[in-house]
Symmetry: D2
Subunit: 387 residues, 4 copies
C-alpha cells in the first residue's frame, strides 16, 4: 500500500470495551491510523480519549454529527473511513450519515435495530458505492476460513447437521443493576434493540454458520429465556433450524451459562466427514471421518488453503488469537479500500469480510427468532437481503 | 455375600453386541454367575453360545418361554434373576413373564414398545414384589454419581440450563441394507418400536438428566430427522425442553453425526456453578464457577462423595471405564437382591440402579417426542409413572 | 477353550491392592477361575480372603510353600497356573518353586530382587519348559499395541528420540510412617529391593519403550533423588539413555510429582513421524507428521492393526481402560497355556505377553540405574538376558 | 505517556522472521513507532523494508554503524531506543555501540556469542546507565506471570522438581541445505555461536524456569545430539539439572522432534502443589494438588494476581497469544524508558522484563551445557552475572 489510511472512530470512549479492541486490531498490521474521533456523547470524555491517543484536539468531537460534518469538509488529510463502535442504536444513523458523506464504514454488530434500517443501509451502500464492513470478527480466524474451504471443496459431502453454540456466563447475575457499563446498555431495549443474547452473540453464531457452510435458513423454532430476575431482554436462547436443502441445525447462545467465558463452538456434520472448531483455542480445527483417524489441522501448516494462509501472521505453534482475527476483518477491508482508491480490483483473498448484506441477514435472524419465541412455534426464516 | 447369585440370560447369542457386555459386566465383580440361557430364537444358535460359556446343556433353551417354564420348576440351584438383552420388542413379554414366575429381572433399555406396556410392567413389579433393574448403564459411572451429589448438595444453586447430547455416527450410511445385525433390528419398527435414535440413545440422555438433576419435564418440542435415504425410523433428534421449576434444556441425539463414536456429554448450568461430564473420558468431571478456577474432579480422589467412592474399584489415574459403569448397575442390583434374600434392607449406596419407573419415564419420553415431532409443536411432557 | 483354567494366588490378602486387580482381570474374560490361595503369611488373613472368594477352605493355605506342596500333589482339579502378587522379595522364590513344581506362572513386577535371581529364573523357565508371564500390564493396552505396529511397520522412520515419563505424587509425604501398607513395603529395601520408584514404575517405562520400539539400551546416566526426608529409597529418577543404533531417550519416573496420579506417557520421535500415548486416557494414540494434520487414532476403529483389534472388547467410544489392559496380559498367557495343554501352538496374537526375559531386562535396568547414580556418571547399559 | 517513543531497528529485512514480529509487537499497544532502520547489510534490501514501512528514506541505512553514527548526531526527533533483531553474532557489537551512543536497547536472544561478551555488556549497561531489555518473550505471557506469583506466594511449597521442555520439529530434515534463511544462519557457528537448539530455544527454557521459580543452577549434565546427518551444531539436547536448594530438573529442547511445532511446556512440582503451563495454549495454567481437584486458571479472571492482570488486554475467553506476550516485553520496557525520561521511577508492574543479567545467565547456560556434553559428565553450573 502507498500510504497508511486514516480513520475516525465513533464511540469507544472511557469504559467502553470494544472500541479499544477495534483500535488495537487496526494497529496490529499498521495499515491505517486513527486521526479523529467522537468517542463519547460527552465532549469531555471524548477529549479524554483523544488525548490518550495523541490525536490532534481539533479532530476530536463531542458528537458524531459534528465529526461527520467537519471531517467531510476537510480538504487535506481526509478520512478514508469511519469505524463505528457505539451501542447498537447508533449504528444505523451514524453509518448512513457516514456513507452519504462519502466515507467507507467499518461497523460493529448487530448492524441496526430493525430490519427496515438494515435494508435501508443495504440500499445506501449500493447507492453510495462505498465499502461497508461489519465486524463479525470470528470469521477472521484462519481456521474458520479453512473450515469454509473444506466445506466448499466438498470434503464433508452433503451437509446434514450443524450445531453451533455460544455460551457465556457473564450475565449470570443482574450485573446491569451494578452499573457495569457493558451490561447496562446491552440489557436496555432502547440501546440494544429487541434482544440481548441474540444481538450480542447469537448473531455471531448465525453468521459463522453462514460463512462456513453457505446454508440459508428455511424455518426456525426459538425458545428464549429471560433467566435472571429483573432483566428485561432474553439472556438465553435455544433455536432449532431447518436449512434449505435439508440440513438441520441447533443454535444455542447464552449469557447465563455460568462459568463459561466465550465458548463459541461450531460442529458441521456432512455425509462424508465432520468438522469442529472452538473459538477459545482457535488455532486448531478438527476433522472427523467414519473410517479414518480424527485429524487436528493446525494454523500455520503448509497443507492449509490460501485463505487460511493469507489470514496468518506467525508460524505454527506460535499461537494467534482474538486480536489477529479481528485485525483480519479490518485488514481485508482496508486493503480493499486502498485497492479501490488506487482504481484496482481487490484480490479475492482480501475481498473476504462481512458485508452489509451479512448484517441484514443477522438482523432478520434476530427478529425472526424473537417472533418465533413469541408465537412458540416454527416460523418461516427464509430471507434474501436487498443488494 | 454368602454365595454367588445365579442368573439366566435371554438374548445375547451369536452376533449380538450387548449380551456379551452384560455377561462381562456381571463377571467383573464375581457376584453372580450365568447358569442358563435362551440366547437366540434359534435353538442351535442358543446352544452354540451355551457351549462357549461352558453351561450345562440342559439349561440352554431354544425359547425364552421354555427357559422360564423349566427354570421356574427347578428345585435346586434355582435362578436368582433373569437378564434380558433381546431386541426391544421382547423386553416386555419376557420381563413380565419372568417377574410373574418369581424371578428378579435386569433388563436392557428401552424398557418396552409402548407406554401401556411400561405402565403394566410398573404394576407387575409392584404386584410381584420382585426387583427390576434397567441397564441405563451411564448412571453407573462414579463421576455421574458425583455430579448427582453436587447438584443435590446445592453446589450448582438453582438449575437453569441443561445441555445433553449423544452424537454417534455409525448409521451415517444405510448400514441396515448391508445386513449388519444391530442396524437391522434397530431400524425395524417391528423390533425397535416407534423410534431408533431416541430409543437407543436419546433415552439415555433423558435418564442421565433425570438421574443427575432430578428435574421433571414440563413440555418439549422435538424435531426428528430421518436423514439417510431409505431409512424408516429417525436417525437424528433435536429437542427443546422446559423443565418444571423453570430450567430449560437442549437434548440432541444422533446416529448420523459422522465421525462421532459414543459422545454422550452433559452440561448443567446453575445459578452458582456448572458441571460438565463426557462419557468418552469418564474419569473426570468439570466444575465451572463464575469467580474461581475451573476444577477437574477425578475419580478415585479422596474429596469425592460416598456414592462415587462406592462405585470405584481402582485408585485415581488407573482409569476405569464403560465396563465398570455397566457392572455397577448389576452389582448394585445383585447386592440388593442378596440383601432381600437374606431378609435385610439393602444399603442406600447399593440401592442405586435404574428402576421400572425410570424405564416408564423413558418410554413416555420417546413417545412424547415422536408426538411433538408429528405435530411440529410444543407438547405437554409432564409424566408420573405408576408406582 | 475347552474349559476354564484353574489358578492359585500367592499374596493378595487383606489390605493389598494389586491382588484384587489380578483377580478382577482374570474374571473379566472368564477364561480361568481361582481355586486356591496363600493370600497372606498370616493363615488367618489368608483364610479371610479365601472365604470372601468362596474358595474351598482346604485349598486356602497359610504359606506359599504349603500351597505349592499340597497343590502339586493333587490328582484332580489340578492347578494350571499360579499367580504371584506378593511384595517383590518373594517373587523369585515363589516363582522358582512353582515352575519347578510344574506350574505355569504369572508374576507381578519387578520380577526379582537381584540380577542373579532374574537370570536364574530365565534358566528355570527354559529348563522346566513352563510358561512365565510378567504383568507389565501397560503393554496390554490396544493403543500401545498399535504404537508398536506403527513403529514396526516403519511409519515413524528411523527412531531418534524417546521421551517416557511416569510421574506419580502419592509419596509426596512420608506416607510409610503412617503405616500405609503399600508405602511401607515399597519403601523397605528388605521387601522392595534396592529401589522404590524405579522398581515400581520406572521399570514399566523401560518395558514400554522396549515393547513399542524394540530398542536396546547402550548406555545411561541416572540421577536419583530421595526427596522426602526420612525415606530410605529413591522416590524420583531422571535418566538419560543412549540406545543402540543412535536414538536418545529421556526416562523420568517419580513418586513425588505432587498432584499427578498415574501419568505414564510415551512419545517416540522418528525421522518420518512421531507418536504419543497417555495411559490416563488410553483409548487414543496421537500421530504427528511434519507436513500433514496430527491424527488421533481411536481404539475400536477399523483402520487399526490386528493386535489392537484382538486386544479390544468394546466398540469405539465405549471406553476401555486399565482393567482390560491388565486382563489382556492374563488372557494372552491363559490362551497360550490352553493351546500348549491342547498340544497346539499359540497364535501369534495370543503369544504377546511380557516374558521372563523382559523381567530380567527390567531388573538389569534398575540395577544399572542405581549404579549410574552412585557413580554419577554414564555407565554401560547394554544387556542380553539369558534365553 | 506524553508521547510515542521513537525507535530504530537493526536487522529484520526481507526474509527475516523475527523482525516483523518485533515491529508488530511494538505496534500492538501503540506506545512507540519505528522511525529508522538498518534492516539488512545490503543497502538495497534495507531500503526495500524502509519503503514498506513508510519510513523517511534519510533514516534508512545500509549498515548499523551508519545508523548509530547518524542517529546519535540528530538533534530533533531523536531515537529513544534501538531494537536489535539480527543473527546472534551481531547482537553484541550493535548493542554495545548503541548503549555507548546513549540509546536504550531491546535485543533478541541469545544475547551474545560468548560469556565474555555477555559480561562486558552487563558492565556496559551499568556504565552507561541505559535500559537494556532482552526479548525472552515467553515470560511476557500473563499466565507465566501468574505462575511466578504462585511460586513466590508459597502456594507450591518447597520446590522439588522442574520439568521444562521445548520440542520443535522444523529441523527434522537438513533444511539449511535448501537455503531456508532461518535454518542457514542458525546452523552456522559463525552466525549462531556454539549452539543451535540451546541458543535458539533451550535458553528460553532456562529463562522460563528462572523467571517462574527464581531457582539458580548448581550443576548440570548435558547430552547434546546432532541428529540430522550433515548438520554442524546440535539439534537436540537433554539436560539434567541440580538446583541450589535441592530441587532437580529436566530440560529438554529439540529441533528434530518431528511433528512438534513450538511446544514449550513447564511443570513445577513442589511439596504442596504443582503447576503446568503450555505455550501453545497459553491462556490457561493448571494447578494440581494432592487432595483437591485440579484447577484450570484462566487469563482474564478476577482471581489472578496484579501482574497477570496488568499483562492482559482482553477479557477471559477472548484468547490472547504470542504477539501479546511479545508486546508485553516491549511495553514494559517502553514504559520504563518513558518513566526514566520523565524522571520518574517505573512502577513495579512495568519493571518486569528480561535484563542484561538474564541474558548473561542464558549465555553461561549455553556454554556450560556444551562443556558438560563435551566432557560427558556433570559440571558446575553455578553462576552470578556481573551487575
Amino acid at each position: 500500500m502507498e500510504r497508511k489510511l486514516r480513520y475516525a472512530m465513533v464511540g469507544g470512549g472511557p469504559g467502553a470495551f470494544i472500541g479499544a479492541v477495534h483500535r488495537t486490531a487496526v494497529r496490529l498490521d499498521g495499515l491505517a491510523e486513527i486521526v479523529a474521533g467522537a468517542f463519547s456523547s460527552s465532549a469531555e470524555k471524548s477529549k479524554e480519549t483523544g488525548t490518550e491517543l495523541h490525536l490532534d484536539p481539533n479532530r476530536v468531537y463531542g458528537s458524531w454529527q459534528e465529526l461527520i460534518e467537519k471531517e467531510a469538509s476537510r480538504t487535506t488529510d481526509r478520512l478514508d473511513f469511519i469505524s463505528i463502535v457505539t451501542p447498537n442504536f447508533l449504528h444505523y444513523p451514524v453509518a448512513k450519515a457516514a456513507l452519504e458523506a462519502g466515507f467507507d464504514v467499518v461497523c460493529d454488530k448487530p448492524m441496526t435495530m430493525t430490519v427496515e434500517e438494515s435494508e435501508d443501509l443495504c440500499r445506501t451502500v449500493t447507492k453510495t458505492g462505498r465499502l461497508f464492513a461489519l465486524t463479525h470478527n470470528y470469521t477472521g480466524y484462519p481456521m474458520v476460513k479453512e473450515a469454509r474451504k473444506l466445506v466448499s471443496d466438498g470434503k464433508l459431502g452433503e451437509l446434514r447437521k450443524i450445531v453451533v453454540e455460544y455460551p457465556q456466563g457473564w450475565l449470570s447475575t443482574l450485573l446491569e443493576s451494578d452499573g457495569q457499563k457493558q451490561a447496562v446498555w446491552r440489557s436496555d431495549p432502547e440501546k440494544a434493540g429487541i434482544s440481548s443474547a441474540l444481538g450480542d452473540i447469537g448473531t455471531h453464531c448465525e453468521n459463522l454458520v453462514h460463512y462456513i457452510t453457505g446454508l440459508e435458513m428455511d424455518s426456525m423454532l426459538a425458545d428464549l429465556g429471560t433467566v435472571v430476575a429483573g432483566r428485561v431482554l432474553e439472556d438465553d436462547a435455544s433455536i432449532l433450524i431447518k436449512y434449505k436443502g435439508g440440513a438441520r441445525g441447533i443454535l444455542y447462545c447464552s449469557q447465563i451459562s455460568i462459568g463459561e467465558e466465550n465458548a463459541l463452538t461450531i460442529r458441521v456434520y456432512g455425509s462424508k466427514a465432520a468438522l469442529e472448531w472452538k473459538q477459545e483455542n482457535p488455532n486448531y480445527l478438527r476433522m472427523k471421518y467414519p473410517d479414518a483417524p480424527e485429524q487436528i489441522l493446525k494454523r500455520g501448516s503448509g497443507y492449509l488453503g490460501a485463505a487460511a494462509a493469507h489470514a496468518s501472521r506467525l508460524p505454527g505453534g506460535h499461537p494467534e488469537a482474538f486480536i489477529e482475527a479481528f485485525a483480519n476483518i479490518y485488514t481485508s477491508a482496508i486493503r480493499c479500500m486502498a485497492a479501490r482508491a488506487a482504481g484496482a480490483a481487490p484480490t479475492a483473498l482480501d475481498n473476504d469480510y462481512p458485508t452489509v448484506q451479512d448484517g441484514a441477514r443477522g438482523i432478520h435472524f434476530i427478529h425472526t427468532a424473537v417472533d418465533s419465541h413469541k408465537r412458540q412455534s416454527w416460523v418461516d426464516a427464509s430471507y434474501s437481503p436487498p443488494k
